[in-house]
Every structure is written in C-alpha cells, then in structure tokens.
C-alpha cells in the first residue's frame, strides 16, 4: 500500500491487490531450449492449422483468447502466428465471464475478424464471430487409461459411451483402438466433439464469407435453396446455421456485417465449397432420437438403445464439463479417469444430491415474486432470445423482472440487490450451475425457472443445462422468435384453461396461492403489472386507482404498487438521508475524518497499518 494514500479516499484501491494476486498457472510444458520450444508450441497450440485457416479465409485481425493459466505461453503463440501470417494478432485478457466461453465483445473492441480460442472450451455456439478452437493437447497415458478402464468395467460387453475433456480429444482414437482391439470391448461408443472425422483437430470452423449486411438475405435464400438446409424458415429474415454460428439482424441492431455459416465437417466442406452446411445432428433430436448432441458432443446409439442403458466413461479431471455431463446424464453411471493423477473412479454418487439440491432451488424460484435475470454471457448464441423468452415467461406470471449484466458472479455483488427474490443466470452450460449456498439469494438456470413457472414442464429428473434446448425447436432467432414464444405462452395458457375443470376454476388458478414447499405454507404471489403487458393490464391499472398509494406524512413519494423496487424501498427502514429543511442549524463546515475505513488517519496504529498489506 502506498504512502500517498491519504486524504478523502474516494479512490481507495490503488490496484496493487490485483497486480500482486497469485494466479495458479499450468506449469508451462514448453522446454527452455528455443527451437524445441517453438516446435512443441506449434504442436500443442496447433499453429499450423490456425495459420492455414487464417490465410485461407483472409482474416485481417486475429484475436487470441487465452485463459489465465495459459497466459505464459501466449506471447510465443502470438509471435509465431504473427510471423507466419503477417496479420494483426492481439491477445485478449481473460473474459469477465467464464474463460470457456468465447469473448466476442472483447474481440469486437479491436474489430477482430476471427477469434482463436485456446484451452478448455464449453463449445457453446457463438452468435457473431467465427471461432477457431484450439484446445491444447494434454498427454494421456493410453495404456494406463485402458487398464484402469478395464478395472472399472467387469465384462467387455458392457455398453459404454466414451467421453472426454476437450484437451484429451487427440488421444481418444488411440484409446478406443486399444480398448477395442486389445481388450475386446465390443459395445463402446465414442462421442465426437462436433465432427465425425479428424477428431480433435477441427471442431468448429466458422468462416466469414463476405461483408455487408445484404449478404444475410442472400445467405438466407441460399440456405433455402440448398437442399441440405433444413432449418431455415422462409418467414425468418435471419438465417440460422446449426447452432455453431448464427447471425441476426435483430439481435444485433447495429447490423454487424457478417454472415456466417458453419462448416462443421471438413470433408463436406471440401465437397461443397461456399455452400453452407447445416449441422443436421443437432436439435432435430426428435427426428433422430438415437443421435444426441450435448455441448458440442455427438454420439450415436444403435437402434433400440436408450441412453439410460449406457455407462459413461469420462477422460479428464474434475471440471465443470464433467459435472455438466453428470447432471444431464443423471440416469447413467459415470466413471472418470484423471490422466494427471492416473486414477479412475465412480462419479455418479454425488449426482443425486446435486440434482436434489437443484430441485430445492426450483422450489425457491417458484416462490419468488421478483426475479433478476443475470446475464452471464455475451457470446453464447441466442442469449438475447433466451433473455426475451425468460422475460416473457416471468411477466406472463405476473412477476417482476429485472435484468442485470454482471460478469462473474460473486456474493457481494449479488447481495446488493436485496429486493430480488431469485436470480436466473443465463450463461454457457458449464458456468450455469452455481452452488448458491453462500449467496443471499438462490441462482437458478433458465431450465429450472421454466420448471418453476410454466405448468407445461414438470420436474422429472431430466436436466438440461444448455438453454438453447429450452427454446422451442422450430424456434427462430430475433423478433419473430419472441413473438412466437409469446404466442406460445398464450396458447399454452389457453390450453390450460380448456383443461381446467371449469372456467371459474382455471380463472382462480392464477390467483390462487400455491403451496410452497420451501416454507410448507401457502404462498400468494404478488402480481406486478408489467409495462409491456397489453392494454388489458393497462386498463386494469387505470381502474385500480387504489393501487396508487396515498401521499402520507411518512413518505414524500407516492409509490406505484407495481414497482417492486419502490415497494421494497417503502419497507426499508433507511430511505436515504432526510432533508430536514429549516430544522437543522446552519453550521460551518469542519474537517472530518480522513483515510479509509480500514484505518482512518486519526486512528492509533495508523502508521503501522500503513505498512501492512491486506
């Protein structure tokens, strides 16, 4: 702490804490010898592939995104790419969200054409920029892994799906071969990361075709005309290409001039240059039940098998990816192998507990009257749609919604909003599951909020972390999509009406209190009139003049009842400094205390503390 820090401390923090903060970094596996270093670096960080793509597509500005633990290597990587391509290369600082997500906003600051994302990735599709994923190869002792595998499973006819952390993707083929040929496992199904071929190298390759917003239209029609495209809708002014990449003139009102398509599969890309190929595997799960895609992982089950018949084997250490896989496959047994510790174990034991805990959070969300949407991503595709969808859902239940852009969540930040009863966190699947015990208010995922609020969904034990699966399958991005979701909600409520015993009962259902499982009491929801709701609600408001609180002696402000924040303020004891005009004597200003709260200058021991660090 510097000695200059005195006087009225409005800027209390000199930032030294951030600078001196210890960050755990991966020990750089690059050797000290210069040439070997470059060679390993090129190999691990796939410099050649990256360079090839950049040159092929003609990107001008390249943003490199490293997570904190890989930052030591970033300089060398940037240097190599710059040397080989001659393009502008920028290193982005770690994101304010999860480092597994692509930070498009940061890349936009430098108007980058492409982002190269290094390290662990959640594989969440992005909405604007093309992304090259480089996972960084971590070594796996295949023999050891195979023997651990053998030890965990009794018969070699067991039905197993092989999953892995992306950083181990490069060794999976080797592992599979060992298992199938040497140990004669016959029922192993390998999950692919995004692609069928060339496993682990190219996962998703997003290409900018041209500039100019008019391309969007062209591409859309292009998609339409193309026999392979199954997902573009004629009515939509935007096109969606798989989930990996999409563009929306509505989502992006500034009209970011890109039209992107996905070429998920390289061999097809070669066959069909310039023609966008949609990843048909993804959301059309209804059509192909046995083909599943979760978080960029695709696996195909033989006909007649369901996922519940399988056991999962995961290569990788404990990570959000693993917990994510466990949550979404909570009916399967999950075994893991940690390549660093060379240990294998059964993981699914805690899953049930975790799941029940989430169930409790759903109950909490059901009781909430004021819900905050915390936006935890600016990169994951259709997050705007999701936010809109959630808003519509919340408002249709007469609850109040506030939206927050928060970056990484922490206890102190969230506790600043005491009037919020529950937060819903819109983020990439791997960052969504937050254990909110330490938090003042529960934090739920969009899926959980849906269960809590919409009657059409019920808690069955099935769990979805990827919010895109929540959007209706024929859903399109943009305004249409929002309108659609509104229409669907209305339709849904109509349906509920019809299903009700009689009109009267269903009428009451909305107002009737529900039995809260958190408190064991009946809970009546407060209803807030949303300013976006239609004229019906507005006219209600006009009629209900009693909703306006009468100006009284205590409050100088008349509060509208439908304002949650206003209501909260009303209940609060401290309402800000009182202006007692004419009641206080005029006095000369005197000098008050100086310094900061952790040691005012006047306090004894101030000098000693000056020397202390935090």
């Amino acid at each position: 702490m510097s000695n200059s820090l005195s006087g009225p401390a409005t800027l209390a923090d000199d930032g030294s804490a951030v600078i001196s903060r210890q960050i755990k970094v991966h020990h750089s596996r690059l050797s000290t010898d210069a040439q070997t270093k470059i060679n390993t670096c090129s190999d691990i960080y796939e410099i050649n592939r990256t360079v090839a793509i950049i040159q092929e597509r003609g990107y001008k500005r390249v943003a490199l995104q490293f997570p904190d633990e890989l930052l030591p290597d970033s300089g060398l990587v940037a240097q190599l790419i710059r040397e080989q391509t001659g393009r502008g290369v920028y290193i982005l600082a770690d994101t304010s969200y999860g480092s597994c997500c692509v930070d498009e906003v940061a890349a936009q600051h430098i108007a980058a054409d492409v982002i190269v994302h290094y390290g662990r990735s959640c594989q969440s599709p992005t909405s604007r920029l093309p992304v090259i994923y480089v996972f960084g190869k971590q070594p796996v002792d295949i023999q050891d892994c195979a023997s651990v595998f053998d030890g965990l499973f009794s018969g070699n006819r067991a039905k197993i799906i092989l999953m892995y952390d992306v950083i181990y993707a490069h060794c999976i083929d080797g592992l599979l071969e060992t298992l199938e040929s040497k140990m004669e496992y016959t029922h192993i199904i390998k999950s692919r990361v995004e692609t069928e071929s060339n496993l682990g190298y190219v996962l998703s390759q997003d290409i900018v075709f041209s500039n100019g917003s008019r391309c969007c239209q062209e591409k859309a029609s292009c998609c339409k005309n193309n026999g392979d495209s199954t997902e573009s809708s004629p009515s939509s002014s935007c096109c969606q290409n798989g989930t990996s990449s999409l563009v929306s003139t509505c989502v992006n009102p500034t009209g970011y001039p890109t039209a992107t398509t996905t070429i998920a599969q390289q061999h097809r890309q070669q066959q069909q240059q310039q023609l966008p190929e949609l990843d048909v595997n993804d959301h059309n799960s209804s059509a192909e039940i046995n083909k599943r895609r979760r978080f960029g992982r695709v696996y195909e089950l033989p006909e007649g098998d369901t996922i519940d018949d399988y056991t999962l084997f995961y290569v990788g250490d404990e990570s959000p990816t693993l917990s994510n896989i466990m949550m979404t496959h909570n009916k399967c047994e999950v075994y893991s192998y940690d390549p660093e510790k060379k240990e294998g174990r059964l993981e699914s034991a805690q899953v049930n507990k975790a799941l029940m805990r989430r169930y409790f959070l759903v109950q909490k969300a059901r009781d909430a009257d004021v819900i905050g949407i915390a936006v935890g991503t600016l990169g994951v595709a259709s997050y705007m749609t999701m936010i809109q969808h959630l808003k519509t859902l919340i408002e249709s239940k007469g609850k109040k919604v506030y939206t927050f852009v928060m970056g990484k969540l922490n206890v102190a930040k969230m506790a600043n909003f005491m009037e919020i009863d529950c937060f819903v966190y819109v983020a990439c699947p791997e960052n969504s599951l937050i254990d909110s015990r330490e938090f003042y208010r529960p934090i739920v995922t969009p899926f959980e909020l849906e269960i809590a609020l919409s009657k059409s969904r019920e808690w069955t034990g099935e769990y979805i972390t990827d919010f895109q699966q929540l959007l209706p399958e024929d859903g399109k991005i943009g305004v249409n999509r929002i309108k659609l979701s509104q229409a669907q909600l209305e339709a849904a409520s109509d349906r509920e009406d019809e299903n009700g015993l009689s009109d009267q009962i269903s009428d009451e259902d909305d107002e009737a209190p529900h039995f809260s499982l958190v408190t064991g009491q009946l809970k009546q929801s407060r209803r807030y009139v949303s300013n976006k709701e239609d004229s019906k609600e507005l006219s209600n408001l006009m009629e209900g003049t009693k909703d306006l609180m009468v100006r009284d002696k205590n409050t100088s402000v008349a509060t509208l009842m439908s304002s949650a924040a206003g209501e909260y303020l009303h209940a609060r004891e401290f309402k800000g400094l009182e202006v007692k005009l004419g009641e206080t004597h005029v006095e000369l200003a005197t000098e008050g205390r100086a310094g900061i709260a952790r040691g005012y200058n006047t306090e004894s021991g101030y000098k000693d503390r000056e020397k202390e660090k935090y």
């Binding site: 507990k353 409790f360 034990g461 009946l522 709260a597 021991g605």
Partner: protein, 831 residues
Amino acid sequence: MENVTNIRNVSVIGQVNHGKSTLANTLASIAGIPTTPRVEGSCCSTVNDDNEKDYDITIKPVVFPLYFNVNEDDVGDIQQKSNGSAFMINLVDSPGHVDLLPEATAALGITDGALMVVDCIEGICHQTEVVLRQALIQRINPVIVINKIDHAIFLSHHSTEDLYQSFKQTVESVNTIVTIYGDKSLGDLMIHPEKGSVAFASGLQGWAFTIPLFADRYAKKFGVDRQKMAAKLWGDNYFNSATKKWTKQNTTADGKLLERAFNVFILDVIFKISNTVMNNTMDNVLAMLVKLQVELTPDEMELQGKPLLKTILNKYLPVGDVLMRMAVIHLPSPITAQQHRVNVLYEDHLDEECATGIRDCNPNGPLMLYVSRMVPSSDKRHFYALGRVFSGTVRYGLSVRIQGPGYVSKKKNDLFVKSIERVVLLTGAYVQPVESCPAGNIIGLLGIDQFLLQSGTITTSETAHNLKVIKTSVTPIVQITVESKDPSHMPKLVEGLKRLSKSDPSVHCYTSDTGEHIVASCGEIHLEDCLKDLEENCAQVPIQKSNPYIQYRETVTIESPDTVLAKSPNKHNRLFLRAAPLTEEVSRAIEDGTIHFNAEPKARAHVLSEKYEWDNTEARKIWSFGPNNSGPNVLVDMTKGVPYLQEIKDACRTAFQWVTRESVFAQEEMRACRFNVMDVCMFSDAIHRGSGQIIPTCRRAVFASMMISEPRFMEPMYLVDIRIPMDAMEVVYGIITTRRGQVLSEINCPRTTTSICRVQVYVPVAESFGLMSELREATGGQASVQSVFDHWKMMQFGMDHPDTQKLIMDIRERKGLKLEMPKLETFQDRL
C-alpha cells in the same frame, strides 16, 4: 339455527384415553347421528343440485349437532336469555393426544364452551391443563365431566370416601387453574358440583349424573327446596339419620362416624343398584326398578348382569339428558359469549363496525367468520372449511374477502375476494347444504379451501381485521425424509404433502435445501400416523422414508472473550461483534411471545429491564430477533455515535435472519444467542457500503464471534409421563438410564389400589425413538407413556469433543455440506 339464544357451541376437550370420543359418540348415537360414514352410492336426501354428485358428501365426523328439549323446571335455571325449551348443541370433538394440541386449540376457537373430560382416577393431566388454560385465555367457559366412574366404582373397590376425595381434588385443581387464568370480567367461571357444572359419567356405559339431578329427586321425595338439597350433597355435609339433622361434622354427638351426604345419597345408591343387579334375583331387581321409576321393555328384561346394569343405569341416569342439560344451563349461548369474547377476538379495534357485529352476534352485521380448520371430504378431492360465524350471515354465492393469517388490514397480502360455492351444515358424517347461516353457528364452506391453508378470517367488510384466535404451534423437532418409490410419482407426492399439511395443523411439510421432502412433527408416533395417512390417503403412492431424525440448536455458553472483526469483501468496512448467551428465561419469553419483535420498543425494553435485568438503553436498541423475526436470538446495537449506522441496519438484519436460521456448525438454527454490535467502521462512499458488502460481513462476524464463545449444541428434551405398575419400576428405570433419561418425579398414585406409579422423566428426543414400544414390551403392555416436547437442553460436550464432531459431520452429510469443521480463520479478520 336462527334461534341463536338456544344454541350452544361446545368443544369436547381432555386427555387422550380419558374417553372423550366415547362420550361424544355416545351422545351422538343418542341423538341419532351415525358416526361412521355411510356406504357410498346411497341416495342423498336433501340434495337437489346435480353438481352435488361430484362431491362425496361424507366426511370424517367433527361436529355433532344435538337437539335437546329442556324440562320446563330447568328453563328457570338458565341464567341467560333463551327462547323456548328447544336447544341445539353443536358438539365439536377434538383430539386429545398431546401431539395434536394445535388441532385441539383450533376446535376451541369456534366454540363458546368446553366440555372437559377427566378420568376420575388419573385426574387432571398436563395436557388437559394446557388446553384448559387456552380455553380460559380465549374466554371459553369450562364444565367438567368426571368420566370412567364405572371403572372406579365397580372395578377398583375404592371406598366411597376415597372416590369423593379424588373427585374433590379434580374439582379443586380445575378451579385453581380457573382462578389463575380466568378473566374476572366473565364472572364466576369456577365449577361447582352442587350447581351442576360437574357431571359424573360413564361414557362407556352411557350414564351420568350431576348433583342437582339427585337433588331434584330427593327434593321431590323429601319435599325440600332442591337448591338447598343440592348444596347439602357436596362438601362437608353429613346427614345424621338418627336425628334427621344435617351437620357439618363427620361425627355425631355420641361419637359415631357419619357418612358424607354425597356418599350416602349418591354413590351408595349406585352401589346398591349395582349390587342388586349383579348378585340378586330378578325379583329384587324388579322391586328396585319400581323404586327407581325405571321401566324396562320385555327385551331388556331378558338381560343379565352387566348389560342389564348398563340398561338400568342408562335409563335411571341418562347420559345425554344430563350432559346436554349441563351444557344448556352452564355454558353460554353465542349471544352471551360473544359479548365477552369480542374483546379477545377483535382486541384492538373494539369501536369498529365488525366488533359491534360480533358483540351483538348480529345476523345483519358485516360477515365475520373464522375458519378453524379444513375437513377433508372422503373422496379426497375437496376440503370443507369448518368455521364459526361470529357476525352477519353467510350465504351461498356471497362474495367474500378471504383473509389469510398474513393479512394486515388495508394491505393486499394474503387477501382473496371470492364467492362461496356452498354453505353446508356438518352433521356427523354427513353434510347438508343450506341456503344461508346466521351468526352464532358452526358451518362448513366449500370453494375456499384453495385460498387458506388451515385457518383464516372470512368477511364482507373491507375494513375488517383478522379475528384473533389463539393458535398453538408445535415445535416440529422430529423429521422424516420421504420420497416416492417411483420418481414419476413425485407430483402426486407433492400434492399429498399439501393435503397433509392442510388437514393436520400439527405437521409441517417442506423441502430441505438439499431438495428432500421433509415431514416434521413433534413426536415419532404422530409422525408415523401422518406418513401412513400420506401414503394411503393424501398421496396414494408408495413412499420411501428415512429414519426419523431430530433438530438441534446451536448456541454459545460464554460471552466472547474478544471482540471479533470482520471486513467486508472490499475491505473498506469493518464490523466488530461480540456474542453472549441469552438466559433461558429470556429465550423462553421470546419463544412464547411475551417479548415480541413487533412490540413497542420502549415497552419491550421495560419488560426486559424490569424482569430480566437488562440494561434499559441496551434493551431499547435491539435491532432484530431471529430467525423469522421472532426467534430467541437478538442482535443488539451497542455502538455509540457511529456514522452511517442507520444505513446498514437493514442489511445487518437480513444477515442476522440468515445466520440464525442456518448457523455455522451444522446449519441448524441458533438459540439463546445475543450478538452485540460493538463498533462499525463504514466507508464514506455510500456505493462501497451497500448491502452486498454488509450482509456477508455481518454473517462472518456473527459466525466468528460464535466460534470463540464456547459454542454448544442444544438438544430437544421430552417430558415423558409414564404410568406403570410398581413392580415394573426397576425395568423401567433401567431403560430410562440407557436412554440418558433423567427422573424428574415419582408419584405413587394414592387413589388406586393396584399400585400404579407415575414417573416423570426427561428423555432426549434423540433417544426416545422406540421408547414407548420398549417400555410396553418390558412391562407386558401395562405402561402408558405420553411424551411432550419440554425444553432445549445444553449438550454435555463442546464442539471439539469427538461425539459432537460426529454429530456435526452426520448432519453436514445429510445436508450435503462440506465434511469438515468450519474454521475460525475463514470468518475472522485481523486489523
């Protein structure tokens, strides 16, 4: 129903096994009310509405309306306004088991009088006393039925004097309670056997008598004034048959012992009847029957022995007449009762129109109706709201305001405006739709069950406040986790839990923060009943349940040796805290509501400083009670002249509620802790001292101060009342010792010849599971056991003892917490 002066709303209260329900059923069967639900599909008599077929109209019987014509002679005895001699008595049965206390209290609220049933041998028990106290607080008049006297007279061979003494003792103990808790403004609430407010009954054999009943008969026979006669038949009055004179001494002038009049003129008569029937020939019996003026039908003449005795006594001393007469004469009509009860029911707003309506029991006033409980219909789809109309008239289709327990006048919380679908009379197991029902009656309502969990106020007046009816709550200390066997049945289970908590006020159903469904109650046995009910009736899906486990409380034992400091996440704000234990007296006062957060701070401070030796200024600066703003932990502001203090008060309160609900060691609730805010240093810039900075800081500070103040667990203790034969004493003591029990008192019941012994012990609830069956087994089924939650007891060992550590880890594992002890360093900061 309209003739309100001739209505008596009476609840039957008393200890379990003292024969309440037998008595109620006997009365009901006399009145011709079937007590078991009839077979489904039989035709409905009064139903013209097609819709009615959707509802199964039988229910578990709760209210028995009895019609009764009083003798012309007795009308004069009624000390209140009445009209004609036809009376209607609404008898509300209530459960006697100690675990069901809330239900019993709820029943009291809708009645004006209480028929208290006491076993003549066991006398007044703890449970009876509690209920009686509640009745008196709610200004409900009691009358006593001393029951099971057949048992005492015919089986246990007591002398008549012994019996008299035990009756007298019961009467006296009731009168003691009445004197303490009874409201003087109600006039004389004491019970007087000679005036007829005590009945002696055998619910089983169906006969009963009061002293005036015998007095009447003797009065006619001897030609004396019946009231004078009645007075002679109780107390120290002796009849010297030689001199034909009444005397107060139990010896004659020549030193001969005299028998008490009560014994001679009443008990001996019954003994004689009994002896004659049991031992003598039919001729003697017939002779006696003539004397008694009892006529038997030819069928009844065929009977022998006990059944014959029963029939004769039944005719000679008919239980229905006696008890109903007692109710009519000694209990108030709604009109009389509500004049007094309005002061309790509508306490603070006695000048408003609703209060006037209640006071006058005015059928044309604003509707004021109190719903005391939900009665499930036997088709398990609907609930009838059982309530009492205090003012106005409730009609089918009337649009009413339904005010839940959380309703505060003129606010919108817990308020629904709905119309009543149906008004029904509950007659035993049937319901009978009616058009309307005026003030003073007990009635069932359909169509409001979804808006109220258990109780609430229904009114038509917009200015109405909630009716204040005292409710007892039980501490749900015993919990069981339930789960549907088939995961897909979960929605049904949830619905079942909802129904269960609706129909039973003693049970608490909720979800723990680990996501498990928990059913909590105050006792193991009641809990088992609940789960059975849940599985068979409410949810109707197979369920899986855990072993029962109990709640603990976390507390501190000493005042913190140091002041602890916690810094806010941005390090700019500091909070200095000290913990201290609250005395048991203060904790209890907070728990039973004597000291309440919503009370006026000055008055509260006064009580604290006068009664509990608090510093008056400190007592005024209590910031918060927790958990739930009412728990036995306090946060006290001890700072002096600190800036920005008001600003952080809200945040500190919030944090305090949170920490007291989930304390540091095992996230159990806190109890009996006081936290003093010694000092705060706040950052001058408001943005850096928002609630986000204060809540976590305050939480850590509380935890840290708790950890340095020798924290302990408190465990719940049962007061177990065991009655066992003398010879089984040793076995019982053995069992109790192994269960860490502590003997409180041991009384040899003097009234019984078989040496039954009554032992009161404290047993930790944790050790009590299976205690009852073990005791029963050890004593060959002779033990009678009643346990009731009594207090929290500090556990013997500190937090670092291995036993406690194991306990903490067990709880933490169950709650899905990290399996390690919390560390002080994580909560405390250094300067």
